[in-house]
Structure formats: structure tokens, C-alpha cells
Amino acid sequence: MDVIWLLIPLSVVLVLLAVRAFVWAVRTRQFDDLDREASRILFEESSQSGQQPEDQRHD
């Protein structure tokens, strides 16, 4: 069971990393618009067929 001395502190470090990653995501505005990102994949796929290359400019 001595491995626990490694695993528990490691889990704490991992959690802190996860928290850091989340804070980074919020700061870089990745949570600003949740409604649209959810459906973005649908739109991008279909826009390939009918659109001019211009619409790629704003991505």
C-alpha cells in the first residue's frame, strides 16, 4: 500500500493542473458562448457544399 504515498499527492497535483486548465479555458473565452459551439459541427460540415471559400475567413 506504500504506493499510496505517491498516488495521493499525484492526484492532488493532477487536480490542481485540471483547475489550472479550466481557469485557462475560461480566460481564453472558451465558455463565452456555449449554445453555438454545441452545434458548430453541424454548420461547418454543411457549409462546405454551398459556400464560397470566403466564409472561411472569419474562423
Binding site: 499510496i4 483547475v19 475567413r57
Partner: protein, 841 residues
């Protein structure tokens, strides 16, 4: 009538077919169809027809497949700005920023944008505009920001007009918006609260996991040093949660204490701070070896749930507080000034000085109080004063800023700058009303101070007593006492219930902007209503007494004649269904009389009987009312509003469908009902009689409306339902302020509650919801207090171990949560408007 029956009734009245583009009902008899993927679909107006065609031609048909709900917005019926107003470089420059790399950046407030598909169709539909560099839609705030190539102000203005025209073509409305500081602040707050939730959430889950391992170890036996490791890990993680997640609680607690008040955040901060601090003390003093308990898991979970509740409450509040409560939001973007040499220039309304000559185009908003120098027109003051019938003006008449001009161009002399107008008084009044509003205190807030003080005193006394009885047990007993008496369940009781009630009401189409309105609803003694637009809605025209030809022909002709005429009456005509469009020649508006045009060589007129039928007036009908359609002077049809029976005074308006039921049910609840309107005596009296309301005031200005509600507050407060600009101060002064969804942003920002589908019965839903919420809050508080009181003696006498106390506290909080969740389960009413509510979220 049940909700379903009411809905069906409503649908039957409005016709069941919905427009393919906007989802609003297609007027009966109207026959405009568009072809989408080979199938023809009905649309409700030519604006929608054009939007569908434009979207189709741009290859963006997926919009209709992927959107969550129809837009519910007819093109041109929203905040629409006339793109040409921004063609002037000096005006456009007010809304744009140009950077050094030759690009202009602008932001527009959008109307009619509901879901991701709307944002997508806008971004892709506009992407092809020449010179456009980047365009993105911020769905949450209803803003579009764009940048385009522009080397000088001229080019920037051209880009802006092109952009606005493009947005209109796609079937949405937009006005350029100045960068809103408030908006940026909300964004920042949202991000901060999201960060806190994330930290608390991730941390709490991990702490919980370690705690479960720890509890399991209690039963299965665990080496002491392993247990210590688990607890040390919990301490570190909970420390992070407390330091970064619970920051906000400590900050507000500190601020309220420094202001000499007691707030709900004080016990919350104390519970979190003490919980962690005392547990850490146990760890550091070697309490683990003595088998003492720690409370890191409770602290972390408590912080997380509380943050989550706060976040939900805050996002609802922000969504509708986004309107700028400023004067320039109410004025046109630009106004034409004429100098002494007759030169015209576009200036900002704020630049006008007394004595300036300005020109108001037909349909334009009057930018400053002024006196008419030239022109005859009708002025619509409904938004400003609540008067529903237009006022005829001639040279010499005074006009107030904020009125909407009718059919003819007017030249005005400015009497006073816009900042001193009656219009400017409305934002000021609202600000004053808000400042004077009594600080709304939760029941919990009022007793929180007492409870916290009591907890601290009891803990101190317990600690002191045990010092003499058995010094070794001071810490565990004091801790158990603190845990048992911790007002966690008590602190949760109110916010959790209010959050659940907010969600439930949302499903019913009632958007609660300020959940504390539910608490204020209990002391209401009266319900006051605005008339125009609240108790009444614009009536529909009926075509009667056709003397020749079919009714459809007459309606077609009348609608054709009223096309492009900026007059309230013309708007009513344009709502009528048409099946054929005529080509007009010599189309002109005769001020105060009607409209005329030549069609197929014959002169058609629509207007007052004695003007329209000038050739051969029928003597029997000479005294008749209504609007006549004549062909070469001969009567073809008469148009009437379906006004209230026996009340010709109410031309152009009719009661909203639920008005009668709402008023009678309010009265059944023991509330006094009254109408406070800015409209004329006759009209208000007519509505009051129809609804059986005995108290009513007519011709009331915004300031007096506010005073009336202030008076009512002395007796316990009044509910106020309104929709006009002139209602904003009254809403600010009301006990519970309710705005119709059709109200302008400014008015909505003054309200506690917004009725999403303009359904008056929502007032009853709100009061019912408030009753139920109050009951559940009371149960929760009662439970929390009695649990604390019952368990406290046991804890003080050392009969409860700290771990049992913590378990009891968590169970008590969970019970409160479960009780609040009952509010959500009880909404099984089948409601169509959940779809509309969705489009609003």
C-alpha cells in the same frame, strides 16, 4: 378555462398556420408562398418572403433545418434602424473605431436572433460583403461585431450601411451600438463566477472522493498514517476551493460588515472560513491521531452548491439588464439640422441647441422638444405618454422629444436641448425610483445576523463550560456545536427555493429577472395596469358593407394604398391579408384626411368619409364613422376596427384576450385593481367599464404614475404591469414590476418580471408561483431552525460526535434542496410558449 383550452382558443383566434420564416401566425386569407427544397411554404409577410429568398439564394438553407425555433420576429418590426441614417461619416464615426491598419470596427445590437442557426446565417450571409474582414455574433448578448476595410471615415460609413442593409436582408434588425461598459462588466462577472464554480466543482469532487476513502477506512480499518495522508490531501484541495472559489462570499461578507449590516454572506463566509480553519487546526494540532473529525468535504461541497445557485441567479439577471438605461438609447442616431443659409447637415441629437432648426422625416423620432415651423402631420406619442390616438400638428404646435412623426415631413425649431426634454426626465426618474426602492431583504437576511451571533455565543459558552468539565473534550464538543448550529440549511433555504421557482416560471413563459420579487409579492394590496399595449392591443380592421366587388378586392386595394405610409393606421391596414398587389400611380398622403392613388386610370381614396367620397356622398351614410374606400368618389367599402361593443371611443384597440379573466382573478385574490394610463379620459373609461374596474386615472404623466405607485407602497405595495416608455418610472416604483415582452429594452430593464409571450394571465401564474415559493421557503426555514434547535442541546452536552453532527448538517441541507425541487416537478402544464422561452434563453 384551463391553460390548454386557453392556448387553443388563442391559436384558433390567431389562425393555426405558422409562418415558415418567423413562426408567427399567417393572417387568414393571406397567400404568399415560398419554395424551399421544392416544397412550397406559407409565410406571413413580404419581409419574411424576402428573407427566405435571400437566405436561399445565399445557399444557407440549412438555417431552417438546424435552428431550434423560428425567430418569432417579423423583419422590420423590431428596433430597426434605417441604414441610410448612418451613411453620414460623422454620425457613423460615433459608433465605429478605426485602427491604424485601415480597418473599421463596429458593434450592433441585434433583434430577432434566437439560436445558433441565426448566428450562423448572419455570419455566413454577411461574409460575402465587399471589404468585410471579420464578422462574429455574440449570441448571449445579442450583439454582432464586425470589422471591414476602411481608409477614411467615408469608407467606414459606407461599410456600416452595407452591413446594416445586409442584416436587414437576412430578416434581422440591428442598430449600431456604442460599446457598452455594463456589458463588458457582466461578461467579466460571468467569467469570474464560472472560474469560481469550476475550481469549487473540481476541487469538491476530488475532496469528496478522498473523504469517501477516509470514511470507508473508519469501518475497514486503516493505518493512521494513510488516513493522515488522505486528510492532508483534503486540506490542501479544500484550501484551494476556499481561497479561490469562495472569494466572493468573503468579499461581500466583509463589505456588508463594514457597512454595519448583516447579510446572508456573513454566515456563509463564517461557515466556510470556520469549517476550514477549525478542521485545519485539528490536523495541525495532531487531532487525527486522537480520532477527531474534519469537515473539509462539507466545506467544499457547500461552497460548490452555493456558487452554482448564485451563478444561475446572476445569469438570469444579466440577460435582461443589458439595455442601456441612457437617454441616447431613446433618441434617433442622427438628426438633420438646417442652418441659416438652408444648408442641411447630420448632427447627433445631443448636439442640438435651443433655436436650431431641424427636419423630421416621415416616421422619424423627434429628437428634441420643438415647435413646428412648417408642415402638417400626425404625431404618435404612444411610447412617451400612452396616448393611443395620434395627434394632428400644424405650425405653432409644440412637440415633445421621443414622439414619432406621422406621414409628412416636419420642420421644427428646437425649444430646449434634448438633455432637458421630458424624454430625458424618464431615465432620471427611473434612476431615482431605483435608488429609493427599499433594499429587498430575504427573510433569511433579516435573521441571519441574529443567528450568527447566537451560534458564536453558544459555541463560546459551550467551550468555556467544557473547559471546566473536561478540557480534553473542549475541541470536539465545540466543533460539534458549531457544525450542528451552522446555518447552512438555513442559508440555502431561500436561494435554492428562489432558483427552483425561477426555473419553473420560465417554463410557464414568465421570466423572473429579480427572484426577490416573489417575496415582495406577498405584501401586495393592489394591481395597477397600464392601458395601451398592456390591457389592450391594436385591434384588427374589419371590412364591411361592400357595395361592389368582393371583399378581398377591397382589402387588397386598401393595403396597397397604405403601403409605405408611416402612420399608425397604415400599420393596422398592412396587417390585413392580401392576395394581389396593385401598381399605384400618383400615390400621395392627404394630411389628416387619408391616402389616394390612381390605379388603372381610376382615382382610389381611403380615408375620412367626407373626404374620400367627395364626388357622390351617400346622404344616409354621411354621418357615419369608419374609414371609407372609394373608387372615383363612389363608396366601395367601409373599414372598422373590431372595437369593444358599444365603445366607439376605443377605435383601433381591443382588449387582450386574457384581460377580463386576469382582472377578475386578481380581484378574487383580494387585490384592488386600477388602471393608470396616459391616454384620454374616454378611452380609459371604456376599458375600465369593460373590465369592471372602478379606480382609474387617465392622462397621467410618467412622474405622476411613479407618485401613485409610491403612495401605494405605503399600504404594502402594488403590482404594476406596463409596456411603454412612460411606464418605466412606475415600474421602478412598483412593489412588483411586470413588463410585457413587447416593451422596449429600456422599459424591460426596469422590470422584475418579463412576460415572454405577452400573455396577461402570466400575472396570475406569477402570484400562484409566489404563493407556492413562499410556502416552501417557510417549510425550509422551519425545518432548518427546528433541526438546529433540537440538535443543539445534544451537541452542547457532548452527546453528538462531530462526524454525526456533520452528517446531520448535510442531511438537513439535502432535505432543503429536495423540498425546493418539488417546485420543478409540478409544472406539467402543456405550453406552447416553452418554445418561445427557448428562443429567449
Amino acid at each position: 378555462m384551463s391553460a390548454l383550452a386557453r392556448r387553443l382558443h388563442h391559436d384558433a383566434a390567431a389562425d393555426s398556420e405558422a409562418c415558415f420564416h418567423c413562426g408567427l401566425p399567417v393572417p387568414p386569407g393571406l397567400d404568399i408562398e415560398v419554395s424551399v427544397n421544392g416544397r412550397s411554404k406559407a409565410v406571413c409577410c413580404h419581409g419574411c418572403e424576402a428573407a427566405v429568398q435571400f437566405i436561399h439564394s445565399a445557399g444557407l438553407d440549412d438555417f431552417y433545418r438546424l435552428r431550434q425555433a423560428p425567430t418569432g420576429h417579423r423583419p422590420g418590426e423590431g428596433i430597426a434602424a434605417d441604414p441610410s441614417a448612418f451613411a453620414d461619416p460623422t454620425i457613423a464615426a460615433q459608433y465605429l473605431e478605426r485602427d491604424h491598419s485601415g480597418r473599421a470596427h463596429g458593434s450592433m445590437a441585434l433583434d430577432g436572433v434566437g439560436c445558433a442557426a441565426c448566428a450562423w446565417v448572419l455570419e455566413h450571409g454577411l461574409a460575402g460583403l465587399p471589404g468585410l474582414h471579420q464578422v462574429s455574433v455574440d449570441l448571449a448578448n445579442g450583439r454582432l461585431s464586425a470589422s471591414w476595410d476602411a481608409n477614411d471615415d467615408d469608407e467606414a460609413a459606407r461599410g456600416l450601411t452595407r452591413l446594416l442593409a445586409g442584416i436587414n436582408a437576412l430578416g434581422f434588425d440591428a442598430v449600431p451600438a456604442q460599446p457598452a461598459e455594463e456589458l463588458a462588466l457582466h461578461e467579466q462577472q460571468r467569467r469570474r463566477s464560472l472560474t469560481a464554480i469550476g475550481i469549487a466543482g473540481i476541487g469538491a469532487m476530488q475532496v469528496m472522493m478522498l473523504a469517501i476513502a477516509d470514511y470507508a477506512g473508519l469501518f475497514s480499518g486503516m493505518a493512521l498514517d494513510h488516513r493522515a495522508l488522505l486528510i492532508w490531501a483534503q486540506m490542501v484541495l479544500t484550501g484551494v476551493v476556499v481561497a479561490f472559489g469562495a472569494q466572493a462570499f468573503f468579499r461581500t461578507a466583509w463589505h456588508t460588515l463594514r457597512a454595519g449590516r448583516m447579510g446572508i454572506d456573513v454566515p456563509v463566509a463564517l461557515a466556510i472560513g470556520l469549517g476550514w480553519g477549525v478542521s485545519a487546526l485539528v490536523v495541525l494540532s495532531g487531532g487525527i491521531a486522537r480520532g477527531e473529525h474534519v469537515y473539509f468535504d462539507s466545506v467544499a461541497m457547500f461552497t460548490f452548491f452555493l456558487l452554482l445557485g448564485r451563478h444561475l441567479e446572476q445569469s438570469v439577471r444579466h440577460r435582461f439588464a443589458r439595455a442601456d438605461a441612457r437617454l441616447d438609447a431613446l433618441l434617433p442616431a442622427a438628426v438633420t439640422r438646417i442652418d441659416s443659409e438652408g444648408q442641411r447637415e447630420s448632427v447627433l441629437p445631443m448636439q442640438l441647441r435651443a433655436g436650431d432648426h431641424i427636419e423630421i422625416p416621415p416616421g422619424g423620432i423627434v429628437a428634441a422638444d420643438g415647435r413646428v415651423l412648417a408642415g402638417h402631420s400626425d404625431i404618435d406619442r404612444a411610447a412617451l405618454t400612452g396616448e393611443s390616438s395620434p395627434l394632428s400638428v400644424a405650425p405653432g404646435c409644440d412637440i415633445a422629444a421621443g414622439s414619432r412623426n406621422g406621414h409628412a415631413r416636419l420642420r421644427l425649431e428646437v425649444l430646449r436641448p434634448a438633455a432637458n426634454s421630458a424624454l430625458a426626465a424618464i431615465p432620471q426618474l427611473l434612476a431615482r425610483a431605483r435608488a429609493q426602492r427599499p433594499q429587498s431583504l430575504h427573510v433569511a437576511d433579516r435573521v441571519a445576523g441574529f443567528i450568527v451571533a447566537a451560534v458564536l455565543v453558544i459555541a463560546a459558552v459551550t467551550a468555556g463550560a467544557w473547559w471546566f468539565i473536561d478540557p480534553a473534550r473542549v475541541l470536539p464538543v465545540t466543533l460539534a456545536t458549531l457544525m450542528v448550529t451552522c446555518p447552512c440549511a438555513f442559508a440555502l433555504a431561500t436561494p435554492v427555493t428562489l432558483t427552483a421557482a425561477t426555473l419553473r416560471l420560465r417554463r410557464l413563459g414568465v421570466l423572473l429577472v429579480d427572484p426577490t420579487a416573489l417575496e415582495r409579492a406577498q405584501s401586495l394590496v393592489a394591481a395597477f395596469f397600464d392601458k395601451t399595449g398592456t390591457l389592450t392591443e391594436p385591434g384588427t380592421l374589419r371590412c364591411e358593407a361592400v357595395t361592389a366587388g368582393t371583399e378581398a378586392e377591397c382589402v387588397n386595394m386598401a393595403v396597397a394604398l397604405e403601403q409605405d405610409v408611416p402612420h399608425p393606421l397604415a400599420v393596422a391596414f398592412r396587417r390585413l391579408p392580401v392576395s394581389h398587389r396593385y401598381d399605384l400611380e400618383h400615390h400621395r398622403v392627404a394630411a389628416g384626411a387619408g391616402v389616394e392613388a390612381i390605379v388603372d386610370g381610376k382615382r382610389w381614396r381611403l380615408g375620412r368619409p367626407n373626404w374620400a367620397a367627395s364626388v357622390n356622398p351617400d346622404p344616409a351614410a354621411a354621418g357615419e364613422d369608419g374609414i371609407w374606400l372609394t373608387e372615383a368618389g363612389a363608396l366601395r367599402a367601409r373599414f372598422h376596427f373590431d372595437a369593444l361593443p358599444d365603445h366607439s371611443a376605443l377605435r383601433g384597440e381591443r382588449l387582450r384576450s386574457g384581460a377580463r379573466e386576469t382582472v377578475s382573478r386578481l380581484r378574487a385574490r383580494g387585490l384592488d385593481t386600477a388602471i393608470i394610463s396616459g391616454d384620454s379620459h374616454d378611452r380609459v373609461q371604456a376599458v375600465a367599464e369593460q373590465l369592471g374596474i372602478t379606480h382609474w386615472w387617465a392622462g397621467v404623466d410618467p412622474a405622476s404614475k411613479y407618485t401613485l405607485l409610491q403612495e401605494a407602497r405605503k399600504n404594502g405595495g402594488a403590482l404594476y404591469v406596463g409596456d411603454g416608455l412612460n411606464d418605466a418610472p412606475a415600474l421602478g416604483g412598483a412593489g412588483v414590476a411586470i413588463a410585457m415582452a413587447s416593451a422596449c429594452d429600456f422599459t424591460r430593464s426596469a422590470a422584475d418580471v418579463i412576460v415572454l409571450d405577452d400573455r396577461l394571465e402570466a400575472v396570475i401564474d406569477l402570484l400562484d408561483g409566489a404563493d407556492r415559493t413562499r410556502r416552501i421557503i417557510r417549510q425550509n426555514l422551519l425545518w432548518a431552525i427546528s433541526y438546529n434547535l433540537l440538535a443543539m442541546p445534544l451537541a452542547v452536552t457532548g452527546m453528538i460526535a462531530p462526524w454525526a453532527a456533520a452528517l446531520g448538517m448535510s442531511a438537513s441541507s439535502l432535505l432543503v434542496l429536495a423540498n425546493a425541487a418539488r417546485l420543478l416537478r409540478q409544472s406539467h402544464r402543456p405550453r406552447e410558449s416553452s418554445r418561445e422561452a427557448l428562443a429567449w434563453t
